[in-house]
């Protein structure tokens, strides 16, 4: 039996009405698949086929050295609290530290246009990401001479890119270099249209490394980690806004993956099965959902919910962590919570001024703290 024979069993009046209804239903226009849908499906299957050949144990610990959150060091908390106690008297002086930081970045650009992490306490393998962050920070300066430095940095980033679009490094370094540099390229692109081929290659690499489930991770058996995916969707949303069509599909898939990492309590899971959560990761994901997800129903609301679960008490997380605080500043700004954002900005400047050891200083060194403090500034 099928629909037609079923209709034959009904009273004529019903059968005629239902046949007419079915005809209308079938006449409704159908969607056409995107021209590249089949290729994407086959690539995802191929990716899974390759992945299943070399299973490795999922690691739940040690997320990124920068973006994962470790326990706060008691000594650093004490130091931060001490800074707060003298905050009113040193507030005005600290305001100058952003421009001082930018000047320091400008003075320390290498002759080839990059910044050298190893000269400033960071890990050399992150040279592309730290050059990208430094260039982004300098781009915000209106001081004369800065644009020439940004131009040199852009050229240097293009020089560091390989033919497949990658910016170097292996595993974790490769993925973070790619995410942060792509974000910087997409942000700088409107002023630097010469970056188009570099950005296109980079986007192509990013799309090729997206897992079938929509996330990104440097662990071969993972469907994605929320920190990397948050950075990637920010980069893709930026590129999408600039008209790079190749960003659209990976952006949508990335946001979808990120959406599904939200837990009932408003926190974000680092991996699908992660138990722990962190303030920095929640802030990063919230900002990605609010901004990169703004054209997708429900995502900004979800981002706001995640943001609502962020800790408002500064003393509860007073260890220096420029990444966490940068992400929180961006979230608070996007929600119009300027007082909370300003308090964090001030703390970042004070901690920078005091050369307080940052959570991820060993990876990014002074370049990282200076660039993020500048990027968090108004």
């Amino acid at each position: 039996m099928n629909f037609e024979t079923h209709m034959n069993e009904l009273a004529l009046i019903d059968a005629d009405a239902f046949r007419s209804l079915a005809k209308r239903l079938r006449a409704m226009p159908e969607l056409q698949p995107s021209p590249d849908l089949a290729d994407r499906i086959l690539a995802a299957v191929e990716s899974e086929r390759r992945g299943s050949g070399s299973p490795s144990r999922r690691r739940f610990l040690s997320p990124s050295p920068w973006w994962g959150i470790a326990a706060a060091a008691a000594a650093l908390v004490a130091a931060a609290v001490a800074i707060y106690t003298v905050l009113p008297s040193c507030g005005a002086r600290s305001l100058a530290s952003v421009s001082e930081g930018l000047a320091w970045l400008a003075d320390n650009q290498e002759a080839d246009g990059t910044w050298s992490p190893s000269r400033h306490g960071g890990a050399e393998v992150y040279r592309p990401a730290l050059t990208a962050l430094s260039a982004l920070a300098l781009d915000r300066s209106e001081k004369s001479g800065m644009s020439a430095r940004v131009n040199r940095a852009c050229a240097a980033l293009g020089g560091m890119q390989s033919a497949d679009g990658a910016f170097g490094g292996n595993g974790r370094a490769c993925f973070y270099n790619q995410a942060i540099t792509t974000y910087a390229l997409a942000t700088l692109y409107p002023k630097h249209p010469e970056l188009r081929p570099v950005l296109e290659r980079s986007l192509s690499f990013v799309a090729a490394r997206q897992t079938a489930q929509g996330g990104w991770d440097y662990e071969s058996d993972s469907e994605g980690n929320a920190a990397l995916t948050s950075w990637q969707v920010r980069a893709l949303a930026c590129a999408d806004e600039q008209g790079f069509a190749s960003a659209k599909v990976p952006l949508r898939k990335g946001l979808r993956w990120l959406r599904d990492r939200a837990r009932d309590d408003g926190s974000i899971a680092y991996h699908r099965d992660s138990i722990k959560s962190s303030e920095g990761l929640n802030a990063l994901a919230a900002y990605a959902l609010i901004t990169a997800g703004r054209n997708f129903p429900g995502l900004p609301e979800l981002g706001r919910r995640v943001a609502g679960a962020l800790c408002a008490d500064l003393s509860a997380s007073s260890n220096a962590d420029c990444y966490r605080d940068y992400a929180k500043v961006k979230v608070f700004d996007s929600l119009g919570q300027s007082a909370r954002a300003d308090a964090l900005r001030l703390r970042m400047r004070l901690q920078q001024k005091a050369a307080q050891q940052d959570q991820w200083g060993v990876v990014g060194g002074k370049l990282y703290t200076t660039a993020f403090t500048a990027l968090a500034a108004r």
Binding site: D14, L21, A22, L42, A44, L302
Partner: protein, 185 residues
């Protein structure tokens, strides 16, 4: 010696058996042949912007479960079984997501007001689309499989894991509801 048909002319069952034996090209033919059908299956289910992702997930499952396919089963029945499972998972995620965003600002965000959809609500086509989406999931799936896909009721019964008699009663109820919705307009 017999000439073998090109892959694109081979039937689904033959292709799926080749997939089971590791033939990637046969899988590609199946993807290209059925992607549109699945796309519209999900689109008519009320998925908003990520129906292509659900199509991809369905084919991923098809690949993962290729060993479970037996030639006695009609290929589309097997495929819709997988698609239905993908859709159920999606509904679970959606319910969770809706729960997460519930209680947040009720003000519509102008960034994602769909003006095209709003303009089209007056048209009969949109009424029908909305009526279909508004059907309870169990009824809508019977219409999807019986009317759009024109599957025999015995196949629908296997896919939805319900007796043929229930397929019939659901079909009747679904069409009656659609009719009442449209006549009430």
């Amino acid at each position: 010696m017999t000439l073998q048909k090109p892959l694109s002319e081979q039937d689904d069952t033959t292709l799926m058996l080749r997939v089971r034996d590791g033939d990637g090209e046969a899988f590609a033919v199946l993807v290209r042949r059925h992607q549109k059908m699945l796309l519209n299956f999900f689109a008519r289910s009320g998925v908003q912007y990520d129906y292509e992702d659900l199509v991809q997930q369905t084919f991923l499952r098809l690949y993962r479960y290729r060993d479970r396919y037996v030639a006695t089963a009609k290929f589309t029945t097997f495929l819709f079984l997988l698609a239905r499972q993908v859709w159920i998972d999606e509904l679970r995620r959606r319910k969770r997501h809706e729960r997460l965003v519930a209680g947040l600002s009720a003000e519509p965000n102008p960034d994602y007001v769909d003006s095209e959809a709003a303009d089209a609500t007056a048209s009969g086509e949109m009424d029908l689309k909305r009526a279909l989406e508004a059907l309870p999931e169990g009824l809508r799936q019977v219409v999807e499989l019986g009317v759009y896909q024109d599957l025999p009721y015995a196949e629908i019964s296997k896919i939805l894991d319900i007796p043929v008699g229930t397929v019939k009663s659901r079909m009747f109820n679904a069409l009656a509801k659609l009719r009442a919705f449209l006549e009430g307009k």
